[in-house]
């Protein structure tokens, strides 16, 4: 099937099986390799992209289901108001180790901040628990989200100082 999908502000034509997940359309048909494959079953969040501003797992999103929705990937998230701030905070906090999950983390974090500019630690837990970091850089992911939100970095859950 021929699909026209809106990716990073551009209309792109792809010839694909209707069931082909958006992840593989992005990576292998459109050469947008920033979005990562981790599990293929929406357990890890490495493949997170924005669909009309909402974080979705592209590995379980068939291309046929996308329709006219506007898709943003890590390659263009800097063009969104929260995306650039999140990327900068990620660098300032030196979040990453291997970095493989971080595109997905940044997409989830920027979607969170777009809807909830001052998230609580519980809000961060809820929004980010679908994104696995195998290197377990969670302390810094949390701090970077708060930094991007202009909030103090201290972890409010830490009552044992």
């Amino acid at each position: 099937m021929l699909y026209t999908i809106r990716i990073n502000g551009r209309a792109r034509e792809v010839e694909a099986d209707p069931q082909m997940p958006l992840l593989w359309v992005l990576r292998d048909l459109l050469d947008l390799k920033g979005t990562k494959f981790g599990c293929g079953k929406s357990f890890c969040g490495a493949c997170t992209v924005h669909l009309n501003g909402t974080a979705v797992r592209s590995c379980v999103t068939p291309v046929a289901s996308v329709g006219a929705a506007s898709i943003t990937t890590i390659e263009a998230v800097a063009g969104t108001p929260t995306g650039k701030a999140v990327q900068n905070a990620w660098l300032a906090a030196d979040v990453m180790q291997c970095g493989y999950c971080q595109a997905g983390q940044i997409m989830s974090a920027s979607a969170l901040l777009a809807k909830n500019p001052k998230p609580s630690d519980l809000d961060i837990d809820k929004a980010m628990s679908g994104n696995i970091c195998r290197c377990a850089t969670y302390t810094r992911i949390r701090a970077a989200i708060k930094q991007a939100a202009g909030m103090p970095a201290a972890d409010s859950r830490d009552t044992l100082r």
Binding site: D17, M20, P21, W24, D28, L29, D31, L32, K33, G34, T35, K36, F37, G38, G40, K41, F43, C44, A46, T73, I74, E75, V77, A78, Q87, W90, L91, D94, M96, Q97, C98, G99, Y100, C101, Q102, A103, I106, I124, D125, K126, M128, S129, G130, N131, I132, C133, R134, C135, A136, T137, Y138, T139, R140, I141, R142, D155, R157, D158, T159, L160
Partner: protein, 731 residues
């Protein structure tokens, strides 16, 4: 920095000859090429047995310093940290440093690997000397040009200065001249006083991080080669099984599929094993075509093995004397008889998968007898050798590009995926990207071996430990333990108790095992430091103080320095408020220590058993002694926090279970990795001591697991003797 005489510290007291060659770089400027043959003295828990250290540094005529990063980057921060050592002593600004990833080329770079937390101890002295030698040559070039004594010259920020005449020259303008000078004796070049460090000891973010946050294609899975096909490789669900027949014609007729064929393979797990390759124009279609694949597998003997069976077998074996003694001192049997108090406990831990988030993959192109490979690997040259042997090509005809690795943890020390990709590429006559799906990755790993430990201890009337025995029922054959399944004669508290017996019995295993972050230690720390906790409680003593008392006088016991461990225990006592807090009902604090990879770590966990039968890890305190200098503080803290959380993830939920020779788990729903809402704050404290700096990728992990289990005991009175922690025990 003045060119003053600095005291020379011989690296680890070893006698070595280093070679430095200087010359003109391509495009002009100074090129330094350094090599240092090095005997290995570190604990042998990686497959690396010999090594040469090499470094390549180039100073361009524009003053830009390019440093070749020769080791694989797996998230340990090596590509940033090693160049910091050179840049510091070269005395340049970090902003003028460029870092390039090397190809795998053992003739040029020596051994290139990531494993064993070795990079810091191996390179700390050597790479600083390379930088210092370069600085010396640039200073000599300036002194010659100005006709002034070298001793009047100094350097800063990539410039040589002569203060008496207020002259200065940038390195770029001196590089060509310096390249014509003889290389100085590396052992004689002056090194900076650490108090003058400008780069070392300051936090530097990951050199490639700006590319990562922008989604640039850096990883193995991102490689793209013109004309590339995609492949999956389906192996027997039972380890060692072989493909006898398959419905290949049906698979070949699936959309996107170009070819499907059986690969015969051999018996070595870290090589090419039997399976079915499916190759096509689109990875998703090729992976989907597997749904139609039907293979007749000859399953082989491993089909009779299961986790449950091993547990039963281990219990039976535990009733007998160990097949081999690891340590035997004094008379444990007699001492136990004489004990005022006796303890017995059986502990176990499961197989674990590495679960790197980037699944195993490799892109290979075989043509006209030459092989080109793009791979995320921790040990490229070992891969080259397997590919050479399996395909019958010369080592020299194989080019390996090392990509960034989406996690390593020891999995990518093996190169099974590399030989699969090369074989498939040769068969189809095209470049091929092989990608495993998550199920392949979880079910065809080199697992952290499970282990079964049967302990006995005897205390005297004062609660002092005077008899200790451990019968470790592990895996292996013919008296040889499987990889990462062995027990060392130095395992604490051996050498700290007058009557000790450590013994091992081996069960044959048809499942591949291998190093997982802090190999050996990641299971042994749990059982030994938990049982010591039982002993402390039985003695009615504070578990932290009991450990300090057991360590005894400050002294050297083999490679282990009791004073360094006592000091980190004291530090974690202070920082965690040990003995001063009163945890609420259902909460408790636990402590453990462990020495591995030359690092001294003591950790305290505060944990809570909740009424909803869930466990909350509230906080972790880490006290560490890894020597005199934390080279890159941001990276160091990140490694320690990650390792501690990794251990908590293992303890809370991870197990690979074998059933009928197959791995039961297939994805992150049944092999859970730690998530954001489970990750506690981790406070990290480094104790700076006079010892040479050592590595940080691994040693923070082992003690956190027993510290957590000991905290849960303090909270509930329930002792965790088997991993992962079963929350039902607290219901």
């Amino acid at each position: 920095m003045k060119n003053a005489e600095n005291p020379m510290v011989s690296p680890a007291g070893e006698s070595r000859r280093a070679f430095l060659r200087a010359g003109v770089a391509v495009g002009g400027g100074l090129l330094l090429d350094f090599s240092l043959p090095r005997p290995l003295s570190a604990r042998a828990n990686s497959p690396i047995t010999e090594s040469t250290l090499n470094a390549f540094v180039q100073v361009s005529n524009e003053g830009i310093v390019t440093i070749i990063s020769k080791n694989p980057e797996i998230g340990q921060g090596i590509k940033t940290m090693l160049p910091m050592l050179i840049a510091e002593e070269l005395d340049v600004d970090w902003g003028d440093v460029r870092i390039e990833q090397a190809l795998s080329d053992p003739a040029k770079y020596g051994l290139q690997f990531a494993g064993g937390s070795r990079a810091t101890p191996l390179n700390w002295d050597a790479l600083r000397r390379v930088g210092a030698a370069g600085r010396q040559m640039l200073m000599s070039a300036a002194a010659n040009q100005w006709g002034v004594p070298l001793s009047e010259c100094e350097t800063a920020s990539g410039k040589v200065m002569h203060m008496p005449t207020r002259r200065s020259l940038g390195y770029g303008r001196l590089a060509a001249k310096a390249a014509t000078l003889p290389a100085p004796d590396l052992q004689q070049v002056p090194l900076k006083d650490p108090k003058n460090f400008k780069i070392i000891g300051k936090s530097h973010g990951g050199i490639d991080s700006p590319l990562v946050v922008a989604g640039k294609p850096l990883f193995g899975i991102d490689v793209s080669v013109p004309g590339m096909l995609y492949a999956v490789f389906v192996k027997s669900p039972v380890f060692g099984g072989t493909a006898a027949a398959a419905n290949l014609d049906e698979v070949r007729s699936q959309p996107g599929v170009r070819d499907a064929f059986i690969v015969n393979g051999g018996p070595v797990f870290n090589g090419l094993v039997s399976g079915v390759a499916i190759v096509g124009t689109n990875w998703w279609l090729v992976d989907k075509a597997r749904e139609t694949l039907q293979v007749k597998w000859e399953e082989g003997a491993t089909a009779a093995q299961s986790s449950e069976g091993f547990a039963g077998q281990a219990a039976q074996i535990s009733a007998r004397a160990p097949a081999a003694k690891v340590v035997s001192e004094g008379d444990v049997t007699e001492a136990l008889k004489q004990s005022a108090q006796r303890l017995e406990a059986a502990y176990s831990y499961p197989f674990l998968s590495h679960a790197t988030l980037e699944p195993q993959n490799c892109t290979a192109h075989v043509r006209e007898g030459k092989v080109e490979i793009w791979a995320p690997t921790q040990n490229p040259d070992a891969g080259r050798k397997i590919v050479a042997k399996t395909l019958g090509v010369a080592d020299a005809d194989i080019t390996i590009h090392m990509t960034r690795c989406g996690g390593g943890f020891g999995r990518r020390l093996m190169n099974d995926y590399m030989v699969e990709a090369a074989w498939i590429s040769r068969q189809v006559g095209a470049p091929v990207k092989l990608l495993w799906n998550r199920q392949d990755d979880m079910q065809h790993d080199f697992y952290r071996p499970a282990g079964f430990h049967f302990f006995k201890a005897g205390l005297d009337g004062g609660g002092k430990l005077h008899a200790f025995s451990n019968h470790f029922v592990s895996f292996g054959e013919n008296g040889k333990a499987a990889p990462s399944a062995d027990l060392n004669a130095n395992e604490f508290p051996a050498k700290f108790v007058p009557n000790v017996e450590l013994g091992i019995s081996l069960m044959p295993l048809g499942v591949p095992t291998g190093p997982l972050r802090a190999p050996g230690s990641n299971g042994l720390a749990f059982v030994f430091q938990s049982f010591i906790d039982e002993i402390a409680h039985a003695a009615g003593q504070d578990p932290l103080q009991y450990r300090i008392d057991l360590l005894g006088e400050r002294r050297q016991v083999g490679a282990f320095d009791t004073g360094r461990m006592i000091d980190v225990l004291e530090l974690v006592r202070e920082k965690s408020g040990w003995g001063k807090r009163t945890p609420p009902k259902g909460s408790g604090m636990g402590v453990a220590f462990y020495y591995s990879h030359l690092g001294y770590f003591a950790e305290v966990v505060h944990a809570t058993s909740r009424t909803d039968a869930k466990i909350t890890v509230d906080k972790v305190w880490v006290a560490a002694d890894v020597g005199s200098q934390i080279i890159n503080p941001t990276g160091a803290e990140n490694q320690v926090q990650g390792a501690a959380l990794d251990g908590i993830g293992e303890a809370l939920g991870q197990a690979i279970t074998l059933n009928a020779g197959r791995v039961v788990q297939s994805n992150f729903n049944d092999f859970p990795l730690l998530r954001m809402d489970q990750a506690p704050p981790v406070e990290v404290h480094f104790l700076k001591t006079e010892f040479p700096p050592t590595g940080l990728g691994e040693p923070a992990l082992p003690p956190v697991i027993p510290a957590l289990c000991n905290a849960l005991f303090a909270a509930t009175g329930v002792r965790i003797r088997s991993l992962p922690i079963d929350p039902k025990l607290f219901a």
